[in-house]
């Protein structure tokens, strides 16, 4: 049983316990060829990240470039390899909700203790 199938099964409901039926329409997982394409894309982005690090002319915009590239890699992995793109939106909501909580905690800690830490 795949996780998609596991999540898609609703327990028998109603009197007499009718046959289980899917709660969500789950998209099929990608195949090996698509996974390899995503892997190649990730490899290229990593190469660009490291190349950008060594270009002195880009030193003023290094941080935003690296953050964007990193976010792109992060998104590709969670959407394709962790299948959030193909799963119920509920799981994406949990994932993004968790990230927002972490970001909020990070901002609060830095705002509170940032001066003392540096």
């Amino acid at each position: 049983m795949t996780l998609a199938e596991f999540r898609g099964i609703k327990a028998a409901t109603g009197e007499g316990g009718r046959a289980a039926e899917p709660v969500h329409r789950q998209g099929a997982h990608p195949g090996p060829a698509e996974y390899i394409k995503i892997g190649l894309t990730l490899a290229v982005i990593t190469a660009v990240e490291v190349a950008v690090y060594y270009v002195d002319a880009l030193s003023d915009v290094l941080v935003p470039i690296l953050v964007v590239l990193s976010a792109l890699k992060f998104s590709l992995v969670i959407m394709w390899f962790m299948h959030l793109k193909f799963d119920s939106r509920l799981f994406s909501t949990f994932f993004v909700g968790g990230l927002m909580l972490v970001a909020a905690l990070f901002v609060v800690v830095l705002a509170t203790l940032g001066g003392a830490l540096v």
Binding site: T2, F6, I36, L42, V50, V63, L66
Partner: protein
């Protein structure tokens, strides 16, 4: 703050190769999942073992890096950088190690014929753990190694 500082220690080409290996291990992990979902037991075993091997390479690289940094005078108590660096990357390395043990356990199950298409959920859950470890390193590699003060 007393040294050594990040710019004295970091070997970006070396860590880039480590980061690349861990990133590519996510590809082999999903290939293992695709294999078990289509009932390809041989492919499952190959990709699980490849993923575990890449994880071992990554952890070995980290052990080498830790040893080298310590030799150059950085420890947990040297300065704030040493404390945060070793705690952050050390905890990550511990999680990768746990992931390797999970992968090797799955490999043994597959060898014994106890990881069939019907039990592919085990591989999918292990994969979610492995990818999570990978995305954490994506963030660490950028924020700790590439973006320096």
């Amino acid at each position: 703050m007393t040294g050594p500082y990040p710019e004295d220690l970091f070997d970006i080409p070396f860590t880039s190769v480590s980061a690349f290996i861990l990133l590519m291990s996510s590809v082999t992990m999903v290939l293992a999942l695709a294999a078990v979902q289509r009932g390809d037991q041989h492919g499952l075993r190959i990709w699980l073992l490849t993923t575990a091997f890449m994880g071992i390479l990554f952890v070995s690289g980290q052990a080498f890096e830790f040893t080298e940094f310590h030799r150059q005078g950085l420890s947990l108590s040297t300065n704030l950088f040493g404390t945060t660096f070793f705690v952050l990357t050390g905890f990550h390395g511990a999680h990768v190690t746990v992931g390797i043990l999970i992968l090797l356990s799955l490999f043994v199950m597959a060898q014994r014929g106890r990881l069939t298409q019907a039990e592919s959920l085990h591989v999918e859950l292990a994969g979610l753990y492995w990818h999570f470890v990978d995305i954490v390193w994506i963030v660490i590699f950028t924020l700790v190694y590439l973006i320096q003060p």
